[in-house]
């Protein structure tokens, strides 16, 4: 009996402002509050509230048979707390139905695994605590930033006690096999890997409103018939996508909400099919084969690798510089500095610096708050310059403070 597993990614970064060279040393507040609020408001109205309402309605209508999974980044949750508690409440309402699972990820939606395992672990723990706090469930399954994944990462996640992990179903690694089964990462023992079925996922996420696509306009019954084709040769259909697909990337006018409204019923018209959360699927299905990903893969851009964040020298220089601060930030143990450092790790900062102009550059441009990748880099590096000098100041102060302590001791 095959299961359909929906997983939606919810993420918003703390975008940094057009932080000028002339601000260094004067302005220690880096975020573009206004921009962050504007974007969050827009996406909340167009997507989060509307889609959450629809999901709740579908769960109720199908009496608990429609199930979905979310991953909400720590930075997104923080923004909900700060600006849109109504959105957070609507996610909590969904959590209460028992039909919704929340995954673990890095709190800052970061690339930390690549640069620091320790930081990676810290951020996962932080995120886990946040999920427990709001949704009173403990995440058992992990998804990394933009499905960045390799064998080593899967093994690390297994050691942290997770039972499942998500990644992209890359053709060259599948080598003719179907993504619609659970796999075991090469080198791991128990953890189960969920592979995104990119073809069917992207039909909804990218092609849905494409007037040049031969299947346009896509209706729920057509899509369900494609899903039903896997009967007998697959167990889990993983439809993974950005939650913003609904109402934001695909506008309401495209009919995406009507599509969503009919889809569960159309899929369940075939009696063999049901919906499961990822944990339920992990419990229900066995590992069928090994998925061997020695190199990093992801779900981003045409390349499905790290090139969306770390392909050009600017991105690499920026990423190396922020992670090189780990020791000095952590040693100070200052909560505020650690938080700023964490937020500066968010992968979006590097995504904006991407210069793959002539193909995927368009997508990068759509999301970028800046005029050019150079601007993204310059502002970011200016911020780091200020942040580094702030850290230095703390060190000077601390040494000063220690000297004072010593003096006091000697006096005493």
């Amino acid at each position: 009996m095959p299961s359909v597993c929906f997983y939606f990614q919810v993420h918003q970064p703390f975008r940094i402002k057009r932080y000028s060279f002339f601000d260094i040393g004067k302005d220690h507040f880096y975020e573009d509050d206004e921009k962050n609020l504007t974007v969050l408001d827009k996406v909340s109205e167009k997507c989060y509230l509307k889609t959450n309402r629809k999901m709740l309605e579908l769960i109720n209508r199908h009496k608990g048979k429609f199930k979905i999974t979310y991953s909400i980044s720590g930075t997104a949750i923080e923004q909900f707390e700060k600006y849109r508690p109504d959105v957070l409440e609507s996610f909590k309402d969904l959590a209460k139905t028992g039909c919704v699972e929340f995954l673990a990820e890095t709190y800052y939606h970061s690339l930390s695994f690549i640069f620091s395992k320790e930081e990676f672990r810290r951020q996962i723990e932080m995120h886990k605590a946040k999920i427990i706090e709001h949704f009173t469930q403990t995440p058992k399954i992990f998804r990394n930033t933009e499905l960045i994944y390799n064998n080593e990462l899967a093994a690390f996640i297994e050691k942290m006690g997770f039972t499942g992990i998500l990644c992209e179903g890359v053709d060259r690694l599948l080598n003719g096999r179907s993504p619609n089964y659970l796999y075991q990462p090469a080198g791991a023992h128990k953890i189960k890997t969920f592979l995104k079925n990119y073809s069917l996922s992207d039909d909804i996420a990218f092609r849905f409103s494409d007037g040049n696509w031969k299947e346009w306009p896509l209706k729920a019954d057509t899509f369900a018939s494609w899903v039903h084709r896997m009967a007998g040769n697959g167990e889990v259909l993983n439809l993974f996508m950005d939650y913003e697909t609904f109402g934001e990337h695909q506008w309401e006018e495209t009919g995406i909400f009507e599509f969503l409204d009919f889809l569960p019923n159309e899929i369940m018209k075939h009696g063999d099919f049901d919906f499961k959360t990822l944990s339920e699927a992990a419990d229900s299905y066995k590992i069928r084969d090994i998925y061997d990903a020695p190199d990093f893969i992801s779900w981003a851009d045409a390349e499905r690798d790290l090139s969306a964040w770390l392909s050009n020298p600017m991105e690499k220089a920026a990423a190396n510089r922020i992670y090189s601060l780990e020791d000095s930030v952590m040693k100070l143990g200052n909560k505020d500095l650690i938080e700023v450092w964490g937020k500066l790790q968010t992968s979006d900062h590097f995504y904006y610096m991407c210069t793959k102009f002539w193909s995927d550059g368009d997508v990068h441009k759509y999301f970028s708050p800046y005029d050019s990748p150079y601007d993204a880099y310059i502002y970011y590096m200016n911020v780091l310059a200020d942040f580094e000098s702030t850290i230095d100041l703390y060190y000077k102060d601390n040494n000063g403070a220690k000297k004072m302590e010593n003096k006091n001791e000697s006096i005493a």
């Binding site: 060279f21 020298p313 600017m314 210069t355 590096m381």
Partner: protein, 431 residues
């Protein structure tokens, strides 16, 4: 084609652009170029180059106008009479040349006396009469030629273009390299502005060298967008070289006429802001113009004269010498239809900071762009390029990639595709 500046007689970038475009275009079409002055020693392969200084009026007068397309000029009142005392608006091609001009110089041919077009300078003096006489003679001459499209470059040849269209009925394309609004600002209203406006209204197709200029044509001259077909300039390949500076400081370079349009005062302001944070830089301005003294004073007033250099006019070799030493190229133009010098900087591997009010910013992804009034951003970009070699290298590398798409051949192809798009030619031209 109708040109004004043309090698070896050049004043600015226009002559070079016309020349290089003609050469590239000759691969796809047969090109005749009519210019005010030609030098018999200067022969361009595949190009029929005619200087009006070589055609006598006697010959022109004897040309019969049996051409069916020939029309009276009565619908072409393109010049307000009080603005142009020399122009007689009702001429008829059948009549002999019926005007006198200081720019018609007597010439003895055997026993007869004829006249040839003669101007000592392209600009200066009575330019209005110069371009008017040029227009009339070019129109007479054009009637002896077989062609499909009239292609005029800038306002100096607009009267010629209009006259030829009026007399032959052939479609008129105006290639726009620069406009009065660029040179004198948005409040321009003089004779040149008027002739540009009338010319562009009368033309069938406008080919500005950038979308930026196309927008000016629409916004300030009221020309419908539907007539506009942008054709970005190309660049002549060079063999770049690097040379050592004679000083240890970094060098930020400006190349261009020192006139309002090029925003030279902004360069001084940017220099001041940069020097406040990095004293290890010299700012060099290559070029001359009416702002020369003002800039000298401004730099002195700001106390940065020791880091500020005005070279005056430099020839091409000297300019390239500077490009081979520069660390940053700066173009703060207020209104720059294209800005070839920024592409030359790219050829020399110099990262550029250019104003968004320029055509070249549309084709150079690999550059840092600012609004010309935003000197804070410009200064920040200069500082970033000087302090951060990763950024400078990256921009250099990206700009090299842009360079692959900037050529006179692709400019010529765009011109041809424009002819086709507007149905000006049929089958005759291959591409």
């Amino acid at each position: 084609m109708l040109g004004w500046e043309f090698p070896p007689v050049i004043n600015g970038g226009l002559g070079v652009a016309c020349h290089d475009l003609c050469i590239a275009l000759s691969k796809y079409a047969s090109v005749t170029m009519i210019i005010p002055k030609s030098n018999p020693d200067f022969v361009v392969k595949n190009l029929n180059l005619i200087g009006l200084n070589t055609i006598d009026t006697k010959t022109l007068r004897n040309i019969g106008f049996a051409n069916e397309n020939y029309k009276n000029l009565e619908d072409v009142h393109f010049i307000d009479a009080h603005l142009n005392p020399y122009y007689t608006s009702k001429t008829n091609g059948d009549q002999p040349l019926n005007f006198k001009s200081q720019f018609l110089k007597p010439l003895k041919i055997g026993n007869e006396t004829a006249e040839v077009f003669h101007i000592s300078d392209l600009y200066g003096g009575d330019v209005i009469e110069k371009v008017t006489v040029f227009g009339k003679l070019a129109a007479k001459l054009a009637c002896t030629l077989d062609f499909d499209v009239i292609h005029a470059h800038d306002w100096m040849t607009m009267i010629a273009g209009m006259e030829i269209k009026a007399q032959t009925g052939k479609p008129l394309v105006m290639h726009i390299h620069s406009l009065e609004v660029d040179r004198s600002g948005p409040t321009s209203k003089g004779w040149v502005y008027q002739i540009e406006k009338k010319g562009m209204e009368y033309a069938d197709v406008l080919m500005p060298v950038s979308h930026f200029t196309g927008k000016i044509i629409h916004d300030y001259y009221g020309i419908p967008i539907s007539k506009i077909h942008t054709c970005h300039n190309g660049i002549r390949p060079v063999v770049p070289f690097k040379s050592e500076k004679l000083f240890k400081e970094k060098m930020v370079l400006f190349i261009g006429r020192l006139t309002r349009q090029k925003g030279p005062e902004y360069f001084v302001d940017i220099a001041e802001k940069v020097l406040q944070h990095n004293n290890n830089v010299r700012f060099v301005m290559a070029g001359t113009g009416e702002y020369f003294n003002l800039l000298l004073e401004r730099a002195a007033l700001k106390g940065i004269a020791h880091r500020f250099h005005l070279t005056g006019f430099l020839n091409l070799d000297k300019v390239r010498q500077l490009l081979s030493m520069a660390d940053v190229y700066m173009m703060p133009s207020m209104s720059e239809p294209f800005g070839l010098s920024a592409v030359e900087a790219v050829q020399f591997g110099v990262p550029s900071v250019i104003s968004k009010q320029s055509g070249v910013s549309e084709v150079l992804q690999g550059s840092l762009k600012f609004d010309y009034w935003d000197t804070d951003s410009a200064a920040q970009y200069v500082l970033a390029l000087l302090n951060d070699s990763v950024l400078a290298e990256k921009i250099k590398e990206d700009a090299y990639k842009d360079l692959e798409h900037i050529s006179w051949d692709s400019a010529a192809q765009t011109v041809i595709s424009g002819y086709k798009k507007f149905n000006l030619v049929h089958d005759k031209i291959t591409s």
